[in-house]
Protein backbone atom coordinates (compact mmCIF):
# COMPACT_ATOMS: atom_id res chain seq x y z
CA UNK A 1 0.00 0.00 0.00
CA UNK A 2 1.34 3.36 -0.86
CA UNK A 3 -0.91 5.59 1.13
CA UNK A 4 0.31 9.00 0.16
CA UNK A 5 -0.03 12.27 1.92
CA UNK A 6 0.49 15.88 1.04
CA UNK A 7 4.14 16.73 1.57
CA UNK A 8 4.47 18.58 4.88
CA UNK A 9 4.16 22.34 4.60
CA UNK A 10 7.51 24.04 4.64
CA UNK A 11 9.42 20.77 4.40
CA UNK A 12 12.74 21.95 3.09
CA UNK A 13 13.08 21.44 -0.64
CA UNK A 14 16.66 20.36 -0.25
CA UNK A 15 15.88 18.07 2.65
CA UNK A 16 13.28 16.24 0.61
CA UNK A 17 15.71 15.50 -2.21
CA UNK A 18 18.39 14.32 0.17
CA UNK A 19 16.02 11.84 1.76
CA UNK A 20 14.78 10.65 -1.58
CA UNK A 21 18.28 10.08 -2.92
CA UNK A 22 19.45 8.39 0.28
CA UNK A 23 16.45 6.06 0.45
CA UNK A 24 16.30 5.15 -3.22
CA UNK A 25 20.07 4.83 -3.45
CA UNK A 26 20.10 2.42 -0.53
CA UNK A 27 17.42 0.29 -2.14
CA UNK A 28 19.14 0.31 -5.49
CA UNK A 29 22.50 -0.76 -4.10
CA UNK A 30 21.09 -3.40 -1.79
CA UNK A 31 18.23 -4.92 -3.74
CA UNK A 32 17.89 -3.89 -7.33
CA UNK A 33 21.44 -3.83 -8.59
CA UNK A 34 22.40 -7.28 -7.30
CA UNK A 35 19.20 -8.90 -8.54
CA UNK A 36 19.44 -7.31 -11.97
CA UNK A 37 23.00 -8.46 -12.29
CA UNK A 38 22.05 -12.08 -11.66
CA UNK A 39 19.40 -11.89 -14.36
CA UNK A 40 21.96 -10.39 -16.69
CA UNK A 41 24.62 -12.98 -15.92
CA UNK A 42 22.16 -15.80 -16.46
CA UNK A 43 21.17 -14.71 -19.93
CA UNK A 44 24.34 -12.99 -21.11
CA UNK A 45 25.39 -16.07 -23.01
CA UNK A 46 21.95 -16.59 -24.40
CA UNK A 47 18.98 -18.67 -23.49
CA UNK A 48 20.60 -21.96 -24.37
CA UNK A 49 23.04 -22.44 -21.46
CA UNK A 50 20.49 -21.03 -19.05
CA UNK A 51 17.84 -23.43 -20.21
CA UNK A 52 20.28 -26.32 -20.12
CA UNK A 53 21.14 -25.46 -16.54
CA UNK A 54 17.59 -25.91 -15.35
CA UNK A 55 16.54 -28.79 -17.55
CA UNK A 56 19.23 -31.28 -16.63
CA UNK A 57 18.13 -34.23 -14.47
CA UNK A 58 19.51 -32.96 -11.19
CA UNK A 59 17.87 -29.60 -11.60
CA UNK A 60 14.59 -31.12 -12.73
CA UNK A 61 14.59 -33.43 -9.75
CA UNK A 62 15.26 -30.51 -7.43
CA UNK A 63 12.29 -28.67 -8.90
CA UNK A 64 10.14 -31.74 -8.44
CA UNK A 65 11.17 -32.23 -4.82
CA UNK A 66 10.53 -28.57 -4.09
CA UNK A 67 7.07 -28.71 -5.61
CA UNK A 68 6.14 -31.93 -3.79
CA UNK A 69 7.20 -30.50 -0.44
CA UNK A 70 5.34 -27.28 -1.08
CA UNK A 71 2.24 -29.13 -2.26
CA UNK A 72 2.09 -30.92 1.09
CA UNK A 73 3.18 -28.18 3.44
CA UNK A 74 0.96 -25.39 2.15
CA UNK A 75 -2.42 -27.13 2.33
CA UNK A 76 -1.55 -28.59 5.73
CA UNK A 77 -0.67 -25.19 7.13
CA UNK A 78 -3.68 -23.60 5.49
CA UNK A 79 -6.13 -25.98 7.14
CA UNK A 80 -4.29 -25.68 10.43
CA UNK A 81 -4.11 -21.91 10.06
CA UNK A 82 -7.85 -21.43 9.60
CA UNK A 83 -8.82 -23.85 12.37
CA UNK A 84 -6.25 -22.41 14.77
CA UNK A 85 -7.37 -18.85 14.06
CA UNK A 86 -10.99 -19.75 14.77
CA UNK A 87 -10.04 -21.59 17.94
CA UNK A 88 -7.91 -18.71 19.19
CA UNK A 89 -10.42 -15.97 18.43
CA UNK A 90 -13.76 -17.61 18.99
CA UNK A 91 -13.19 -20.25 21.63
CA UNK A 92 -12.38 -19.83 25.24
CA UNK A 93 -9.83 -22.07 26.83
CA UNK A 94 -6.77 -21.85 28.97
CA UNK A 95 -3.38 -21.79 27.39
CA UNK A 96 -4.26 -19.40 24.60
CA UNK A 97 -1.06 -17.58 25.35
CA UNK A 98 0.95 -20.73 24.83
CA UNK A 99 -0.77 -21.38 21.52
CA UNK A 100 0.07 -17.86 20.38
CA UNK A 101 3.66 -18.23 21.48
CA UNK A 102 4.07 -21.56 19.73
CA UNK A 103 2.57 -20.21 16.52
CA UNK A 104 4.99 -17.29 16.56
CA UNK A 105 8.00 -19.37 17.51
CA UNK A 106 9.00 -20.35 13.95
CA UNK A 107 9.59 -16.67 13.27
CA UNK A 108 12.14 -16.35 16.04
CA UNK A 109 14.08 -19.54 15.42
CA UNK A 110 17.10 -19.93 13.16
CA UNK A 111 16.34 -22.47 10.42
CA UNK A 112 19.47 -24.42 11.26
CA UNK A 113 18.10 -24.92 14.75
CA UNK A 114 14.86 -26.16 13.23
CA UNK A 115 16.75 -28.75 11.23
CA UNK A 116 18.67 -29.76 14.33
CA UNK A 117 15.44 -30.17 16.29
CA UNK A 118 13.95 -32.60 13.83
CA UNK A 119 17.23 -34.41 13.57
CA UNK A 120 17.20 -34.89 17.33
CA UNK A 121 13.71 -36.30 17.14
CA UNK A 122 13.77 -38.55 14.11
CA UNK A 123 17.47 -39.13 13.49
CA UNK A 124 19.07 -42.47 14.18
CA UNK A 125 20.06 -41.55 17.72
CA UNK A 126 17.01 -39.37 18.17
CA UNK A 127 14.02 -39.83 20.44
CA UNK A 128 12.09 -41.79 17.85
CA UNK A 129 15.16 -43.04 16.03
CA UNK A 130 15.09 -46.64 17.09
CA UNK A 131 11.34 -46.98 16.66
CA UNK A 132 11.58 -45.64 13.12
CA UNK A 133 14.47 -47.92 12.19
CA UNK A 134 12.55 -50.89 13.57
CA UNK A 135 9.63 -50.09 11.31
CA UNK A 136 11.80 -49.26 8.33
CA UNK A 137 10.62 -45.66 8.13
CA UNK A 138 13.13 -43.12 6.91
CA UNK A 139 12.38 -39.55 8.04
CA UNK A 140 15.71 -37.76 8.12
CA UNK A 141 17.78 -37.54 4.95
CA UNK A 142 14.54 -38.19 3.13
CA UNK A 143 11.40 -36.47 1.96
CA UNK A 144 9.31 -36.81 5.16
CA UNK A 145 11.88 -34.91 7.20
CA UNK A 146 12.08 -32.19 4.62
CA UNK A 147 8.31 -31.86 4.59
CA UNK A 148 8.19 -31.64 8.38
CA UNK A 149 10.74 -28.84 8.66
CA UNK A 150 9.07 -26.93 5.84
CA UNK A 151 5.74 -27.19 7.66
CA UNK A 152 7.45 -25.85 10.78
CA UNK A 153 8.99 -22.80 9.19
CA UNK A 154 5.93 -21.84 7.16
CA UNK A 155 3.42 -22.48 9.92
CA UNK A 156 2.57 -18.98 11.25
CA UNK A 157 1.47 -17.10 8.16
CA UNK A 158 -2.11 -18.14 7.59
CA UNK A 159 -2.87 -17.94 11.30
CA UNK A 160 -1.42 -14.46 11.66
CA UNK A 161 -3.30 -13.16 8.66
CA UNK A 162 -6.66 -14.63 9.61
CA UNK A 163 -6.70 -13.85 13.34
CA UNK A 164 -6.98 -10.05 13.08
CA UNK A 165 -9.64 -10.29 10.39
CA UNK A 166 -11.72 -12.69 12.48
CA UNK A 167 -11.42 -10.36 15.42
CA UNK A 168 -12.44 -7.40 13.38
CA UNK A 169 -15.56 -8.88 11.80
CA UNK A 170 -16.89 -10.03 15.15
CA UNK A 171 -19.41 -12.71 15.86
CA UNK A 172 -22.59 -10.85 15.01
CA UNK A 173 -22.99 -12.21 11.53
CA UNK A 174 -22.36 -15.73 12.74
CA UNK A 175 -24.85 -15.30 15.54
CA UNK A 176 -27.43 -13.97 13.10
CA UNK A 177 -26.88 -17.04 10.95
CA UNK A 178 -27.43 -19.39 13.86
CA UNK A 179 -30.65 -17.65 14.89
CA UNK A 180 -31.80 -18.20 11.32
CA UNK A 181 -31.22 -21.92 11.73
CA UNK A 182 -27.76 -22.53 10.26
CA UNK A 183 -25.65 -25.33 11.74
CA UNK A 184 -22.05 -24.58 12.73
CA UNK A 185 -20.70 -26.11 9.55
CA UNK A 186 -23.13 -24.13 7.40
CA UNK A 187 -22.27 -20.96 9.24
CA UNK A 188 -18.61 -21.64 8.75
CA UNK A 189 -18.95 -22.37 5.07
CA UNK A 190 -21.37 -19.58 4.15
CA UNK A 191 -20.47 -16.77 6.57
CA UNK A 192 -17.02 -17.18 8.10
CA UNK A 193 -15.07 -18.55 5.16
CA UNK A 194 -16.16 -15.89 2.65
CA UNK A 195 -15.33 -13.20 5.16
CA UNK A 196 -11.76 -14.38 5.61
CA UNK A 197 -11.01 -15.47 2.07
CA UNK A 198 -8.61 -12.64 1.22
CA UNK A 199 -6.76 -13.03 4.49
CA UNK A 200 -6.43 -16.74 3.79
CA UNK A 201 -5.24 -16.07 0.26
CA UNK A 202 -2.65 -13.62 1.50
CA UNK A 203 -1.50 -16.11 4.10
CA UNK A 204 -1.31 -18.91 1.55
CA UNK A 205 0.86 -16.81 -0.75
CA UNK A 206 3.24 -16.02 2.11
CA UNK A 207 3.29 -19.67 3.18
CA UNK A 208 4.09 -20.81 -0.33
CA UNK A 209 6.87 -18.28 -0.75
CA UNK A 210 8.37 -19.35 2.55
CA UNK A 211 8.13 -23.03 1.71
CA UNK A 212 9.74 -22.54 -1.70
CA UNK A 213 12.56 -20.56 -0.20
CA UNK A 214 13.42 -22.73 2.75
CA UNK A 215 17.14 -23.43 2.91
CA UNK A 216 18.77 -23.79 6.34
CA UNK A 217 16.46 -26.37 7.83
CA UNK A 218 16.29 -28.59 4.78
CA UNK A 219 20.02 -28.26 4.44
CA UNK A 220 20.47 -29.90 7.84
CA UNK A 221 17.78 -32.54 7.57
CA UNK A 222 18.09 -33.63 3.99
CA UNK A 223 21.71 -34.67 3.81
CA UNK A 224 21.74 -32.78 0.49
CA UNK A 225 21.96 -35.90 -1.60
CA UNK A 226 22.11 -34.66 -5.20
CA UNK A 227 19.32 -36.06 -7.33
CA UNK A 228 17.52 -37.42 -4.29
CA UNK A 229 17.04 -34.96 -1.48
CA UNK A 230 17.88 -31.66 -3.02
CA UNK A 231 15.45 -28.79 -3.17
CA UNK A 232 15.92 -25.92 -5.60
CA UNK A 233 17.53 -23.76 -2.94
CA UNK A 234 19.98 -26.51 -2.04
CA UNK A 235 20.64 -27.01 -5.73
CA UNK A 236 21.65 -23.37 -6.08
CA UNK A 237 24.22 -23.78 -3.33
CA UNK A 238 25.48 -27.07 -4.73
CA UNK A 239 25.99 -25.63 -8.19
CA UNK A 240 27.79 -22.59 -6.80
CA UNK A 241 30.14 -24.69 -4.73
CA UNK A 242 30.84 -26.79 -7.81
CA UNK A 243 31.88 -23.58 -9.60
CA UNK A 244 28.99 -23.98 -12.06
CA UNK A 245 28.03 -20.32 -11.87
CA UNK A 246 25.69 -20.39 -14.83
CA UNK A 247 23.90 -23.32 -13.29
CA UNK A 248 23.66 -21.57 -9.94
CA UNK A 249 22.46 -18.31 -11.45
CA UNK A 250 19.92 -20.03 -13.67
CA UNK A 251 18.33 -21.86 -10.76
CA UNK A 252 18.46 -18.66 -8.76
CA UNK A 253 16.64 -16.87 -11.56
CA UNK A 254 13.87 -19.45 -11.52
CA UNK A 255 13.44 -18.89 -7.80
CA UNK A 256 13.66 -15.14 -8.26
CA UNK A 257 10.93 -15.24 -10.89
CA UNK A 258 8.75 -17.17 -8.49
CA UNK A 259 9.49 -14.54 -5.86
CA UNK A 260 8.57 -11.71 -8.19
CA UNK A 261 5.34 -13.51 -9.04
CA UNK A 262 4.69 -13.73 -5.33
CA UNK A 263 5.19 -9.99 -5.03
CA UNK A 264 2.75 -9.30 -7.82
CA UNK A 265 0.11 -11.61 -6.37
CA UNK A 266 0.59 -10.07 -2.91
CA UNK A 267 0.03 -6.63 -4.32
CA UNK A 268 -3.10 -7.65 -6.14
CA UNK A 269 -4.53 -9.33 -3.05
CA UNK A 270 -3.60 -6.36 -0.92
CA UNK A 271 -5.76 -4.15 -3.02
CA UNK A 272 -8.72 -6.48 -2.69
CA UNK A 273 -8.52 -6.54 1.05
CA UNK A 274 -10.34 -3.73 2.82
CA UNK A 275 -8.02 -3.78 5.79
CA UNK A 276 -6.50 -0.41 6.41
CA UNK A 277 -3.39 -1.51 8.19
CA UNK A 278 -2.14 -3.73 5.40
CA UNK A 279 1.40 -2.53 5.35
CA UNK A 280 3.27 -5.38 6.94
CA UNK A 281 2.80 -8.52 4.86
CA UNK A 282 3.55 -10.85 7.72
CA UNK A 283 7.04 -10.67 9.04
CA UNK A 284 8.83 -13.51 7.42
CA UNK A 285 8.57 -15.42 4.22
CA UNK A 286 11.81 -17.12 3.60
CA UNK A 287 15.05 -18.00 5.24
Amino acid sequence: MTGRQKPAPNSGRGGRYVLRVAGLGYLALLLLAPLSLVFWRTFEHGLGPAWGAVSNPAARHAILITLVITAIAVPANTVFGVVCAIVVVRHRFRGKGIVNALVDLPLALSPVVVGLAFLLLYGQSGWFGSWLTEHGIQVVFALPGMVLVTIFVSLPFVVREVVPVLREIGTEQEQAASTLGASSWQTFRRITLPAIRWAVTYGVVLTTARALGEFGAVSVISGRIVGKTETMTLHVQERYQAFDYVGAYASAVVLALLALTTLVVLNVVRREEPRGDRAEPGHEAVR
Partner: protein
Amino acid sequence: MVEAAAARPASPARPGAALAQGFVTAYLSVIVLLPLAAVVWRAGDGGRRRLWEAISNDQALAALKLTLAASVAVAVINAVMGTVIAWILVRDRFRGQSVVNAVIDLPFALPTVVAGLTLLALYGPNGPVGVNVAYTRTAILLALLFVTLPFVIRAVQPVLLELDREMEEAAASLGAGSLTILRRIVLPNLVPAILSGVALAFARAIGEFGAVVLISGNLPFRTEVASVYIFGRIESGDPQAAAAISTVLLAISLAVLFGIGGLRRWATRYERA
Protein backbone atom coordinates in the same frame (compact mmCIF):
# COMPACT_ATOMS: atom_id res chain seq x y z
CA MET B 1 -19.32 -4.01 24.08
CA VAL B 2 -18.17 -5.39 20.74
CA GLU B 3 -15.15 -6.83 22.53
CA ALA B 4 -17.41 -8.87 24.81
CA ALA B 5 -19.40 -10.12 21.88
CA ALA B 6 -16.30 -11.21 20.07
CA ALA B 7 -15.02 -13.04 23.11
CA ARG B 8 -18.21 -14.90 23.80
CA PRO B 9 -17.11 -18.49 23.68
CA ALA B 10 -18.55 -21.23 21.56
CA SER B 11 -20.17 -23.64 23.99
CA PRO B 12 -17.41 -26.02 24.94
CA ALA B 13 -19.86 -28.87 24.97
CA ARG B 14 -20.09 -28.75 21.17
CA PRO B 15 -18.21 -31.69 19.72
CA GLY B 16 -16.95 -29.55 16.85
CA ALA B 17 -15.17 -27.23 19.27
CA ALA B 18 -13.43 -30.03 21.12
CA LEU B 19 -12.30 -31.60 17.88
CA ALA B 20 -10.92 -28.32 16.61
CA GLN B 21 -9.06 -27.64 19.82
CA GLY B 22 -7.71 -31.15 19.84
CA PHE B 23 -6.47 -30.81 16.29
CA VAL B 24 -4.73 -27.54 17.03
CA THR B 25 -3.11 -28.87 20.17
CA ALA B 26 -1.90 -32.04 18.46
CA TYR B 27 -0.57 -30.20 15.40
CA LEU B 28 1.33 -27.66 17.46
CA SER B 29 2.70 -30.24 19.80
CA VAL B 30 4.03 -32.49 17.09
CA ILE B 31 5.30 -29.80 14.78
CA VAL B 32 6.57 -27.12 17.18
CA LEU B 33 6.61 -28.09 20.83
CA LEU B 34 8.21 -31.48 20.57
CA PRO B 35 11.11 -30.41 18.34
CA LEU B 36 11.78 -27.40 20.52
CA ALA B 37 11.77 -29.55 23.62
CA ALA B 38 14.22 -31.92 21.94
CA VAL B 39 16.70 -29.11 21.37
CA VAL B 40 16.50 -27.67 24.83
CA TRP B 41 16.70 -31.10 26.41
CA ARG B 42 19.68 -32.14 24.31
CA ALA B 43 21.52 -28.98 25.28
CA GLY B 44 21.46 -30.01 28.90
CA ASP B 45 21.90 -33.70 28.25
CA GLY B 46 25.36 -34.56 29.39
CA GLY B 47 25.43 -32.34 32.40
CA ARG B 48 26.13 -28.78 33.19
CA ARG B 49 29.82 -28.99 32.50
CA ARG B 50 29.45 -30.19 28.95
CA LEU B 51 26.87 -27.46 28.39
CA TRP B 52 29.26 -24.84 29.71
CA GLU B 53 32.12 -26.16 27.59
CA ALA B 54 29.97 -26.14 24.50
CA ILE B 55 29.03 -22.53 25.07
CA SER B 56 32.23 -21.09 26.35
CA ASN B 57 34.76 -22.49 23.96
CA ASP B 58 36.59 -19.87 21.90
CA GLN B 59 35.14 -20.63 18.53
CA ALA B 60 31.57 -20.66 19.82
CA LEU B 61 32.08 -17.41 21.67
CA ALA B 62 33.63 -15.80 18.62
CA ALA B 63 30.65 -16.85 16.53
CA LEU B 64 28.19 -15.53 19.08
CA LYS B 65 30.01 -12.24 19.48
CA LEU B 66 30.17 -11.72 15.74
CA THR B 67 26.50 -12.57 15.36
CA LEU B 68 25.41 -10.21 18.10
CA ALA B 69 27.62 -7.37 16.92
CA ALA B 70 26.48 -7.73 13.34
CA SER B 71 22.82 -7.96 14.36
CA VAL B 72 23.02 -4.89 16.54
CA ALA B 73 24.74 -2.94 13.77
CA VAL B 74 22.11 -4.07 11.31
CA ALA B 75 19.31 -3.16 13.72
CA VAL B 76 20.68 0.37 14.08
CA ILE B 77 21.17 0.87 10.35
CA ASN B 78 17.66 -0.40 9.73
CA ALA B 79 16.25 1.95 12.34
CA VAL B 80 17.66 4.88 10.38
CA MET B 81 17.32 3.77 6.77
CA GLY B 82 14.02 2.03 7.40
CA THR B 83 12.53 5.24 8.74
CA VAL B 84 13.95 7.25 5.84
CA ILE B 85 12.48 4.86 3.29
CA ALA B 86 9.11 4.71 5.07
CA TRP B 87 9.15 8.52 5.02
CA ILE B 88 9.75 8.84 1.32
CA LEU B 89 7.08 6.24 0.60
CA VAL B 90 4.47 8.04 2.65
CA ARG B 91 5.31 11.73 2.63
CA ASP B 92 7.01 12.15 -0.70
CA ARG B 93 5.72 11.84 -4.21
CA PHE B 94 7.76 10.60 -7.14
CA ARG B 95 7.44 8.48 -10.25
CA GLY B 96 7.50 4.74 -9.64
CA GLN B 97 6.62 5.11 -6.00
CA SER B 98 4.21 2.18 -5.96
CA VAL B 99 6.77 -0.05 -7.65
CA VAL B 100 9.32 0.84 -4.99
CA ASN B 101 6.74 0.08 -2.34
CA ALA B 102 6.12 -3.34 -3.82
CA VAL B 103 9.82 -4.09 -4.13
CA ILE B 104 10.31 -3.61 -0.38
CA ASP B 105 8.74 -7.04 0.13
CA LEU B 106 11.34 -8.73 -2.06
CA PRO B 107 13.42 -9.98 0.89
CA PHE B 108 10.27 -11.65 2.19
CA ALA B 109 9.65 -13.44 -1.07
CA LEU B 110 13.18 -14.28 -2.20
CA PRO B 111 14.94 -17.37 -0.88
CA THR B 112 17.81 -16.36 1.35
CA VAL B 113 20.39 -18.37 -0.54
CA VAL B 114 19.39 -16.52 -3.70
CA ALA B 115 19.76 -13.25 -1.84
CA GLY B 116 23.27 -14.19 -0.83
CA LEU B 117 24.04 -15.20 -4.39
CA THR B 118 22.87 -11.90 -5.86
CA LEU B 119 24.98 -9.93 -3.41
CA LEU B 120 27.93 -12.15 -4.21
CA ALA B 121 27.46 -11.54 -7.91
CA LEU B 122 27.71 -7.78 -7.51
CA TYR B 123 30.03 -7.36 -4.56
CA GLY B 124 32.10 -10.54 -4.82
CA PRO B 125 35.23 -11.64 -6.67
CA ASN B 126 33.75 -11.48 -10.16
CA GLY B 127 31.72 -8.37 -9.57
CA PRO B 128 31.62 -5.77 -12.34
CA VAL B 129 32.32 -2.77 -10.15
CA GLY B 130 35.57 -3.99 -8.72
CA VAL B 131 34.27 -4.15 -5.19
CA ASN B 132 35.01 -7.43 -3.45
CA VAL B 133 33.79 -7.94 0.05
CA ALA B 134 33.42 -11.71 -0.13
CA TYR B 135 34.65 -13.52 2.95
CA THR B 136 34.68 -10.35 5.01
CA ARG B 137 32.53 -9.11 7.85
CA THR B 138 31.18 -6.44 5.53
CA ALA B 139 29.66 -9.24 3.51
CA ILE B 140 27.81 -10.44 6.58
CA LEU B 141 26.46 -6.95 7.18
CA LEU B 142 25.33 -6.71 3.59
CA ALA B 143 23.56 -10.05 3.67
CA LEU B 144 21.81 -9.26 6.96
CA LEU B 145 20.76 -5.82 5.74
CA PHE B 146 19.18 -7.46 2.72
CA VAL B 147 17.05 -9.94 4.63
CA THR B 148 16.01 -7.51 7.36
CA LEU B 149 15.13 -4.64 5.02
CA PRO B 150 11.33 -4.76 5.23
CA PHE B 151 10.86 -4.94 8.98
CA VAL B 152 11.29 -1.37 10.13
CA ILE B 153 9.81 0.03 6.92
CA ARG B 154 6.59 -1.99 7.22
CA ALA B 155 6.33 -1.22 10.90
CA VAL B 156 6.71 2.54 10.45
CA GLN B 157 4.62 3.01 7.30
CA PRO B 158 1.15 2.54 8.80
CA VAL B 159 2.01 4.68 11.82
CA LEU B 160 3.26 7.47 9.60
CA LEU B 161 0.10 7.23 7.53
CA GLU B 162 -2.14 7.44 10.58
CA LEU B 163 -0.19 10.25 12.15
CA ASP B 164 -2.47 13.15 12.88
CA ARG B 165 -1.26 15.85 10.50
CA GLU B 166 -3.08 18.39 12.61
CA MET B 167 -0.51 17.83 15.37
CA GLU B 168 2.16 19.07 12.97
CA GLU B 169 -0.03 21.98 11.91
CA ALA B 170 -0.67 22.85 15.53
CA ALA B 171 3.07 22.85 16.19
CA ALA B 172 3.60 25.08 13.17
CA SER B 173 0.96 27.53 14.35
CA LEU B 174 2.75 27.64 17.71
CA GLY B 175 5.97 28.69 16.02
CA ALA B 176 7.88 25.44 15.43
CA GLY B 177 9.96 25.12 12.27
CA SER B 178 10.09 21.95 10.16
CA LEU B 179 13.10 20.50 11.95
CA THR B 180 11.58 21.09 15.36
CA ILE B 181 8.33 19.53 14.23
CA LEU B 182 10.22 16.48 13.02
CA ARG B 183 12.23 16.20 16.19
CA ARG B 184 9.56 16.92 18.79
CA ILE B 185 6.34 15.77 17.19
CA VAL B 186 6.87 13.24 14.41
CA LEU B 187 9.80 11.15 15.60
CA PRO B 188 8.57 10.60 19.16
CA ASN B 189 5.39 9.20 17.71
CA LEU B 190 7.32 6.88 15.41
CA VAL B 191 9.61 5.48 18.09
CA PRO B 192 7.32 2.63 19.21
CA ALA B 193 6.93 1.41 15.64
CA ILE B 194 10.65 1.70 15.00
CA LEU B 195 11.29 -0.35 18.12
CA SER B 196 8.91 -3.07 16.92
CA GLY B 197 10.62 -3.23 13.57
CA VAL B 198 14.05 -3.28 15.16
CA ALA B 199 13.09 -6.17 17.44
CA LEU B 200 11.90 -8.26 14.52
CA ALA B 201 14.93 -7.36 12.44
CA PHE B 202 17.27 -8.29 15.26
CA ALA B 203 15.57 -11.64 15.92
CA ARG B 204 15.76 -12.40 12.24
CA ALA B 205 19.37 -11.37 11.90
CA ILE B 206 20.83 -13.46 14.68
CA GLY B 207 19.41 -16.64 13.14
CA GLU B 208 20.10 -15.92 9.50
CA PHE B 209 21.82 -18.71 7.61
CA GLY B 210 21.10 -18.92 3.89
CA ALA B 211 22.07 -15.38 2.96
CA VAL B 212 25.30 -15.53 4.90
CA VAL B 213 26.57 -19.01 4.13
CA LEU B 214 27.79 -18.34 0.60
CA ILE B 215 29.05 -14.82 0.91
CA SER B 216 30.87 -14.88 4.21
CA GLY B 217 33.19 -17.76 3.60
CA ASN B 218 32.42 -19.02 7.10
CA LEU B 219 35.98 -18.62 8.36
CA PRO B 220 36.05 -19.57 12.04
CA PHE B 221 36.87 -16.69 14.35
CA ARG B 222 36.58 -14.27 11.45
CA THR B 223 33.39 -14.57 9.50
CA GLU B 224 31.59 -17.47 11.09
CA VAL B 225 28.21 -16.57 12.47
CA ALA B 226 26.36 -18.56 15.11
CA SER B 227 24.01 -20.35 12.72
CA VAL B 228 26.92 -21.51 10.59
CA TYR B 229 28.78 -22.65 13.69
CA ILE B 230 25.76 -24.67 14.75
CA PHE B 231 25.62 -26.19 11.28
CA GLY B 232 29.27 -27.11 11.60
CA ARG B 233 28.72 -28.80 14.93
CA ILE B 234 25.88 -30.86 13.46
CA GLU B 235 27.99 -31.95 10.52
CA SER B 236 30.82 -32.87 12.89
CA GLY B 237 28.49 -35.17 14.76
CA ASP B 238 28.35 -33.02 17.90
CA PRO B 239 24.62 -32.38 18.25
CA GLN B 240 24.93 -31.61 21.91
CA ALA B 241 27.12 -28.57 21.28
CA ALA B 242 24.83 -27.57 18.44
CA ALA B 243 21.83 -27.81 20.75
CA ALA B 244 23.62 -25.79 23.41
CA ILE B 245 24.37 -22.85 21.14
CA SER B 246 20.90 -23.12 19.64
CA THR B 247 19.40 -22.72 23.08
CA VAL B 248 21.58 -19.69 23.71
CA LEU B 249 20.40 -18.11 20.45
CA LEU B 250 16.80 -18.83 21.28
CA ALA B 251 17.21 -17.34 24.73
CA ILE B 252 18.73 -14.18 23.29
CA SER B 253 15.92 -13.93 20.72
CA LEU B 254 13.24 -14.23 23.35
CA ALA B 255 15.02 -11.87 25.72
CA VAL B 256 15.29 -9.21 23.04
CA LEU B 257 11.68 -9.64 21.95
CA PHE B 258 10.44 -9.33 25.51
CA GLY B 259 12.83 -6.50 26.29
CA ILE B 260 11.81 -4.42 23.33
CA GLY B 261 8.19 -5.27 23.98
CA GLY B 262 8.58 -3.82 27.43
CA LEU B 263 10.39 -0.78 26.08
CA ARG B 264 7.59 -0.25 23.65
CA ARG B 265 4.98 -0.42 26.36
CA TRP B 266 6.91 2.15 28.34
CA ALA B 267 7.25 4.40 25.32
CA THR B 268 3.51 4.31 24.73
CA ARG B 269 2.45 4.76 28.32
CA TYR B 270 0.77 8.01 27.32
CA GLU B 271 -1.77 6.00 25.35
CA ARG B 272 -3.24 4.23 28.32
CA ALA B 273 -5.88 6.36 29.96
